[in-house]
């Protein structure tokens, strides 16, 4: 048996192991899962080491870029989490990560996700390609306004705000539905792909032709 055939058989075992979850609790699924978890833990460790080496250690050794020593030091502080007594020290690297995270995103956030959404809505509203399109674009504007009113937290949803929030919820549902529909189709391709693999490659390719 060559490596490719062996690979396909191993792959089939793991696909079937995962599919067995639909029949509820069983040993085959538990086994398959834990084996892959074992694999994934080592994989993340190897990638962690590789990229640490690539970004931090190599610049120090090859370019004498010593600023990375500071980063490595703070990265290592993460491990204080494993000790009960010094666990609080791990707050430092976390604070650094969060500070950089907030600082990177905050300045452009409002423009990209708030102003641009409003801008595109209005630009489109005034440049319809047909009457039908215009009606659709007015619908988008109505959605924009009503959904924002749904998210008011300090007022109870009654009266005008109540009806507006209700319409907003309908838009939310429509949006969620389309996302779900896309995902449904995508997951369908994934199952179809697996069935294709099991039928064409494994059953027909390996068992029937050998």
């Amino acid at each position: 048996m060559d490596v490719v055939v062996l690979g396909k058989l191993v792959a089939a075992v793991f696909v079937l192991s995962m599919l067995s979850l639909i029949f509820g609790e069983n040993f085959f699924f538990k086994w398959g899962t834990r084996v892959v978890v074992g694999w994934a833990i080592v994989y993340s460790a190897i990638l962690g080491l590789y990229w640490t080496d690539f970004y931090a250690i190599k610049p120090i050794l090859e370019k004498a870029d010593y600023k990375w020593l500071i980063v490595i030091f703070f990265g290592l502080l993460m491990y204080t989490r494993l000790s009960r007594r010094y666990a609080w020290i791990s707050k430092y690297p976390i604070s650094i990560s969060m500070g950089i995270g907030f600082g990177m995103i905050l300045p452009t956030w409002a423009r990209a996700q708030i102003l641009d959404q409003i801008r595109i809505t209005i630009v489109e509203l005034f440049s319809p390609v047909s009457t039908f399109d215009l009606i659709g674009r007015i619908l988008v504007l109505v959605g924009l306004v009503t959904v924002i009113t749904y998210f008011f937290f300090t007022k109870e949803h009654k009266g005008v705000l109540g009806s507006s929030a209700f319409i907003g919820r309908l838009f939310i549902m429509s949006s969620i539905a389309v996302i779900w529909a896309g995902d449904y189709l995508w997951a369908m391709s994934m199952l179809a792909g697996q069935l294709k693999f099991l039928i064409n490659d494994v059953i027909i390719g390996i068992f029937l032709r050998r």
């Binding site: 639909i22 029949f23 990638l47 990229w51 950089i100 990177m104 995103i105 452009t108 423009r111 990209a112 996700q113 641009d116 959404q117 595109i120 489109e124 949006s175 389309v178 996302i179 779900w180 529909a181 896309g182 995902d183 449904y184 189709l185 995508w186 369908m188 391709s189 994934m190 199952l191 179809a192 792909g193 697996q194 069935l195 294709k196 039928i199 064409n200």
Partner: protein, 314 residues
């Protein structure tokens, strides 16, 4: 549980889930063995995707993200392959310059396989590797921060070329600006001799993390000084459509997108290279019928209980 007798409507609404699962497995398995081969109608967004690439000015520079995630390959692979085949045609027809990269480890490996098999370039292209097109290899980009660095200067994110292809001329391990095409591209717009997003005319990018369009628009359109405003077309999966659509339009950041294997089939038809997408689109047919049947069954049960079951009790 055993005490109360279920009426027909209740039984209809509480079928064993395993029955549902097995029905769908069968519905998807039948076309694998007996293909149906139904006609496919081409949708607007796919046509826009195709037209954007087709109508690029002669000699444009395209940054192409070879989007591979092996775990979603069945759904997104057909799009990548159809796009690459189209790109091969356009390089010949329209003299496009292609810079490609991968943002996943499996992508790096898979591209090498593809370039040896399904996507084997012509001998002319192989000879021109590094001159009219180049594969940068794996770049760990994806977040706002990493894109911001890369877009300002590619060499900051990737000092040397990391590709896995072997075409005789070996660029792997060389500094970026040693490669003729990159040196030439770096001379264009923005800062001279720095390879940055200003030098790019079109971005073809793939993802299946649906917040990525936001990141892309922030980093390739809004950011930069002056703003980069790089137009992009997207290869994605069905459920990211609502995240892309807000940005789509003629003069907007995104000019077209292809979502999922069923739309890949449409691109294959447009570009004239039939492939895996058409097969995948075919598989969805019977499952679509199954979906309708189960929605109807669930609702029959719901309305049956609501309107008829009560009367029986009276």
């Amino acid at each position: 549980m055993g005490k109360e007798q279920k009426n027909i409507w209740e039984k209809l609404g509480s079928l064993d889930y395993r029955l549902v699962y097995i029905t769908f497995i069968l519905l998807l398995a039948i076309p694998v063995v007996y293909p149906l081969g139904l006609p496919i109608e081409i949708q607007g967004n796919v046509r826009d995707y195709y037209d954007t690439i087709k109508n690029l000015p002669r000699g444009s520079v395209v940054l192409m993200h070879s989007f591979v995630d092996l775990s979603v390959w069945a759904d997104t692979g057909p799009i990548l392959i159809a796009t690459w085949k189209m790109i091969y045609d356009e390089v010949v027809r329209n003299d496009l310059k292609i810079i490609t990269y991968q943002s996943s480890v499996d992508g790096n490996a898979k591209m090498a396989d593809l370039m040896k098999g399904e996507l084997k370039p012509s001998q002319t292209m192989i000879n021109n590797f590094g001159i009219t097109w180049i594969d940068l290899g794996y770049i760990p980009v994806g977040s706002d921060a990493t894109h911001a660095i890369m877009n300002a200067d590619f060499t900051a994110m990737l000092p040397t070329i990391q590709h896995n292809l072997h075409f005789g001329t070996e660029w792997r391990g060389k500094p970026l600006l040693d490669v003729p095409i990159l040196k030439e591209v770096a001379k264009r717009g923005g800062k001279p001799n720095i390879l940055e997003a200003h030098d790019i005319d079109l971005l073809i990018i793939g993802y299946w993390g649906c917040t990525y369009p936001d990141t892309l628009v922030r980093q390739f359109w809004v950011a930069g000084d002056p703003a980069y405003e790089v137009t992009s077309v997207h290869m994605t999966i069905g459920n990211c459509v609502p995240n892309v659509v807000p940005y789509v339009g003629k003069n907007n950041p995104v000019t077209g997108y292809v979502a999922g294997s069923s739309q890949a089939a449409m691109l294959e038809i447009l570009a004239g290279h039939l492939g895996e997408g058409a097969v995948m689109a075919d598989l969805a047919n019977l499952a679509g019928i199954g979906t309708v049947i189960f929605v109807v069954l669930g609702n029959l049960s719901y309305f049956g209980i609501k309107y008829f079951a009560k009367k029986e009790e009276d």
